[in-house]
């Protein structure tokens, strides 16, 4: 395999670094410990959300009564004909926008621009609150107007409610926790804690969590709402 070694000088060093980092008795991840631990937490969270989504796949495959037509169930009318999935589409855009503002907040943090960082983090939190509010509206509509319960609903397979409340509820809880997390960190930025410690990596770590929440929504949107 000498050709590969010669051809892939850059890649060899990239993969070679893996061997190097894992060898000998020393620190493996050359990242701040907070960042490495946040990544490991997010990995575990990935498995939790995956269990919910795989569980949902399983009950949907095994359901004897046809699954409710999701596109119609989540349609919303603004006076005229109901538009399919419109609320979910808006929620998706709100969450992506918040991901963008968070990425910019991290960037401005490393540029030591305190004011813009705080403002962008507050904007992110506000968009997060908007998302959760829309979700609360959606839940209310489903429970009160359409009689969806975890054990049944008038539109189709009874498993629909259980899967829906479990998956979107757990995700909404993550968004709510993220809003609190962002507000706490934004306050610390405002106070100048990170000017004293000399590092804004805490903002980046909060950003990792927030982007993960957006990431999970990408999968929920595809598998729950578009299937």
């Amino acid at each position: 395999m000498s050709s590969a070694a010669v051809a892939g000088e850059a890649t060899a060093s990239r993969w070679g670094s893996v061997v190097e980092d894992w060898s000998a008795e020393k620190q493996t991840f050359h990242a701040p410990w907070g960042k490495a631990m946040m990544w490991i937490f997010l990995l575990s969270d990935t498995f939790i959300f995956s269990c919910f989504l795989v569980g949902y796949m399983h009950v949907r495959i095994t359901a004897q009564i046809p699954w409710p037509p999701v596109s119609e169930v989540f349609a919303l009318s603004f006076g005229g004909d109901p538009i399919p999935l419109i609320l979910i589409a808006i929620m998706t855009f709100v969450l992506i926008t918040s991901s963008g503002t968070m990425a910019m907040a991290v960037n401005y943090g490393y540029r030591r621009n305190k004011k813009v960082t705080v403002l962008l983090m507050l904007a992110t939190a506000l968009l997060g609150v908007t998302f959760v509010s829309m979700q609360a509206f959606e839940w209310t509509k489903l429970i009160v107007d359409e009689g969806v319960r975890p054990w049944g609903n008038p539109m189709g397979a009874p498993q629909f409610g259980a899967a829906f409340f479990m998956i979107t509820g757990f995700h909404g809880m993550h968004v709510s926790a993220g809003v609190i997390y962002l507000l706490v960190i934004a306050n610390r930025v405002r106070r100048g804690d990170y000017d004293k410690s000399g590092s804004y990596e805490t903002v980046e770590i909060a950003g990792l969590y927030w982007h993960f929440v957006d990431l999970v929504w990408v999968f929920i949107f595809a598998f729950f709402y578009l299937w």
């Binding site: 670094s17 893996v18 980092d21 991840f29 050359h30 990242a31 990544w39 490991i40 997010l42 990995l43 990935t46 498995f47 995956s50 795989v54 796949m57 495959i61 095994t62 359901a63 004897q64 009564i65 046809p66 409710p68 037509p69 596109s71 119609e72 169930v73 349609a75 109901p82 399919p84 999935l85 589409a89 998706t92 992506i96 991901s99 963008g100 990425a103 910019m104 991290v106 960037n107 490393y110 540029r111 359409e146 008038p154 539109m155 189709g156 590092s199 804004y200 980046e204 950003g207 990792l208 982007h211 993960f212 957006d214 990431l215 990408v218 999968f219 949107f221 595809a222 709402y225 578009l226």
Partner: protein, 116 residues
């Protein structure tokens, strides 16, 4: 790479990815709106989903600029989920078959909600 300074990249790249995520979301919504069915629908939905997930992880979460040891430690373990998905799909088919054979016909009449 620059551990001491943290992740510093030009603003432009974030704005580009932000815009791309908007476009990809709009496209995946359009797949449902236009009403594509079958393999075309699923191919497109999965394509847009993986592109969105990839951009978020690589750029917004800075995974692209991390060291290979961290990238592999975080991104390889979820591949075990493919096995779980495969097993549960096979088992799900079996369960459905058993229910089809042993359960009596469900007497369920679906009623759709009216959107006011």
């Amino acid at each position: 790479m620059s551990e001491a300074e943290g992740q510093q990249h030009p603003i432009k790249i974030y704005l580009w990815i932000w815009g791309l995520l908007f476009v990809l979301s709009a496209l995946s919504y359009m797949v449902d709106y236009v009403g594509f069915q079958g393999y075309l629908r699923w191919g497109l939905i999965l394509l847009f989903m993986f592109l969105k997930a990839g951009f978020i992880i690589a750029i917004f979460m800075h995974m692209m600029w991390e060291k290979m040891a961290l990238i592999t430690a975080i991104l390889l373990p979820p591949s075990a989920l493919l096995v779980l998905i495969g097993f549960m799909a096979i088992e799900g088919d079996y369960t459905w078959g058993m229910r089809d054979v042993t359960f009596s016909e469900p007497d369920f009449v679906a009623t759709m909600p009216e959107h006011h």
